[in-house]
């Protein structure tokens, strides 16, 4: 590191130094850079750690149970003798709850996003959007209680006879709807961000051609914001698949391979939650089951994220 004298040497005393080296070595810059790298590395390290902790016990599980029996078996009874480890009822349970949640959350979330971004007066938006985001912060145990003690009785009361038997006390629909309620703010808020980021010039261009607000929103803003909108839905799906407390409290614990919303099911997360907090010895096959199911959950979310990234690349409309 050159000191100031080196550069200014050869000048007459009193002549202003035309110094090129830094006044101080700026060690702080290097420290900050190091800290930032550390933070970025931490998230990767965590993900890797989770992977390793899932894979280890899962290997133990797959020594005992064949992957084919696990993935394609339709009977889940790990603690009954003889045990059966077909995971499909759990997968279907999770997908069923997710599906009902999405049917509820996607239209409402997107409609809310369109309203906030294209219709709401700025003052209304500045109140509504934070309120909506508070909804995303409600503890899921409170939502689970809400599903069990309010939504389920309501569904039972309102159930129209021509649809057959009403909902069981534990049912996929009630859990699905409340999970939907939980992800509405995620979809609405992220989609609204994506739509607000569409340049105003595109809106003006469409409006100047005699397009109504709805047409501007649906035909210009929506396609231009598609990648953000899809991202919001994917995030919502991930939250729905991973949600534990609501399904545990409202959807029951019956491994049941059905998409029928009124029946009790057992979701993958609920199984993990119940079993992990139950009385099970480490190293047993029952214990390893938790990790196998967890690994499958991890892979499902990963595959879905990869598919959505591809879809977004294919369909998005890029504006400068």
């Amino acid at each position: 590191m050159g000191s100031p004298d080196v550069v200014s040497s050869g000048r007459l005393a009193g002549e202003p130094a035309r110094r090129l080296s830094a006044a101080s070595p700026r060690h702080g810059e290097k420290v900050i850079r190091g800290l930032l790298i550390l933070c970025a590395a931490l998230s990767i390290a965590t993900t890797t750690g989770i992977m390793i902790s899932l894979v280890g016990p899962s290997i133990g599980f797959f020594r005992e149970v064949s992957a084919i029996d696990f993935l394609f078996g339709t009977e889940w009874s790990p603690v009954i003798q003889p045990p059966s480890f077909g995971v499909l009822p759990l997968v279907v349970g999770t997908l069923s709850v997710t599906l009902w949640g999405l049917i509820f959350a996607v239209p409402i979330g997107l409609a809310a996003a369109i309203y906030l971004s294209e219709y709401a007066h700025p003052r209304v938006r500045s109140i509504l959007k934070p309120t909506l985001e508070v909804l995303a912060g409600i503890p899921t145990v409170a939502l689970g209680f809400f599903a069990f003690s309010f939504v389920t009785p309501l569904l039972q009361d309102l159930w129209p006879g021509f649809l057959g038997d009403g909902p069981n006390i534990f049912n996929a629909l009630s859990a699905g709807l409340v999970i939907g309620l939980m992800i509405v703010p995620i979809i609405a808020s992220i989609s609204e961000d994506a739509m607000s980021a569409v340049p105003a010039g595109l809106r003006e261009g469409a409006a100047a051609l005699g397009a109504s607000r709805m047409r501007v929103a649906l035909r210009v803003v929506f396609p231009a914001a598609l990648s953000g909108i899809v991202a919001s839905i994917v995030l919502g799906i991930s939250r729905a698949i991973g949600e534990t407390m609501i399904v545990l409290m409202a959807a029951g614990a019956t491994p049941n391979m059905t998409f029928n919303p009124v029946e009790s099911i057992l979701a993958m997360t609920a199984f993990i939650g119940v079993t992990a907090t139950g009385d099970i010895a480490t190293g047993t096959i029952e214990y390893d089951t938790i990790f196998a199911v967890g690994l499958l959950l991890f892979v499902m979310t990963l595959v879905m994220n990869l598919i959505s990234i591809r879809l977004v690349r294919k369909y998005r409309e890029v504006y400068e």
Partner: protein, 289 residues
């Protein structure tokens, strides 16, 4: 929609008339007026942006609005197709007649107004879609009858863009040069066969060659359309326009509020050779602004 000899107007397109019967057009000399502005002022909240503008804009003319930055040229042109309605705080007072009908009347639908009065913006704003879909957007919005391929081709030919893009109609409009994008926006605008085309500094983001092409295009288009253009470029106003309005910035004594006012509005040749107001002369000769 038949436009007969190619002169579209509300009289020829009853399906697009604003609401009420279009009254008999007023004539001044031999020219038919399209817009009559009477004491028109625009405010954003309580702050005035343009004040007391009175002028007549004539059919098949190119009317230029010139003046220094902040004089409200853009605000003024955006009144003419009610684009200012998109800004929640904007308020218009005074009177603005379009073919004799109050453009800000209670029964006038701004969406309908914009079907008749198209607009081209300062920054080219093609949709992030194919060239074809950009042109087809307006006709589809209006539910125009006829073969869409023909409508698209005609609009692109009229905008002198067909030969450059006919082999890549289905590629994204963002692959075009800035000048081509702006001509695409003009093509998109004329595809819906409007009565008037408003252009808000359409060449300010373009190089001189693209600018020249757009100026040539404007001179072609004025045969069939009435054009109002806002420009920073005085040479451009002198080259293309028939009539020019010169606006300046006025300040309150305490310099808290500033707004635009019209100084002089006349035939372009007179404005540039023999202006009646010395402020116009100072501006066009480059002594201020």
């Amino acid at each position: 929609m038949s436009t007969g000899d190619g002169v579209p107007g509300p009289g020829d397109t009853p399906g697009l008339a604003i609401h009420t019967e279009v009254p008999k057009h007023e004539h001044i000399g031999s020219k038919e007026t399209v817009f009559e502005l009477k004491d028109l002022s625009v405010f954003y909240g309580d702050t005035p942006a343009v004040r007391n503008v009175s002028m007549d804009i004539f059919k098949n003319d190119i009317t230029a609005l010139i003046g220094p930055s902040g004089c409200g040229k853009s605000t003024l042109i955006r009144c003419l197709n009610r684009m200012n309605d998109l800004i929640p705080t904007a308020k218009v007072t005074g009177q603005l007649l379009y073919h004799g009908e109050d453009l800000y009347g209670g029964n006038v639908d701004p969406v309908q107004v914009r079907k008749l009065i198209g607009m081209v913006f300062q920054k080219p704003n093609p949709f992030p879609k194919s060239i074809y879909d950009n042109i087809a957007f307006g006709p589809r919005t209006l539910g125009m009858q006829g073969d869409m391929d023909d409508i698209v081709e005609k609009a692109l030919r009229d905008a002198a863009l067909w030969d450059e893009v006919k082999d890549r109609l289905h590629s994204n409009a963002y692959g075009m040069s800035g000048g081509q994008q702006q001509r695409l926006c003009i093509a998109r605008c004329i595809a819906v066969q409007p009565d008037v085309i408003l252009m808000d500094e359409p060449c300010s983001a373009l190089d001189p060659i693209s600018t020249g092409k757009i100026e040539d295009l404007m001179l072609d288009l004025k045969e069939r359309y009435s054009i109002v253009i806002v420009t920073h470029n005085m040479q451009q106003a002198a080259r293309v326009s028939d009539r020019t309005a010169f606006l300046i910035v006025e300040l309150t004594a305490d310099e808290k509020d500033r707004w635009g006012e019209i100084v002089e509005y006349d035939e372009t040749e007179k404005i540039f050779t023999n202006p009646s107001d010395e402020r116009t002369e100072a501006y066009i000769s480059g002594r201020f602004g």
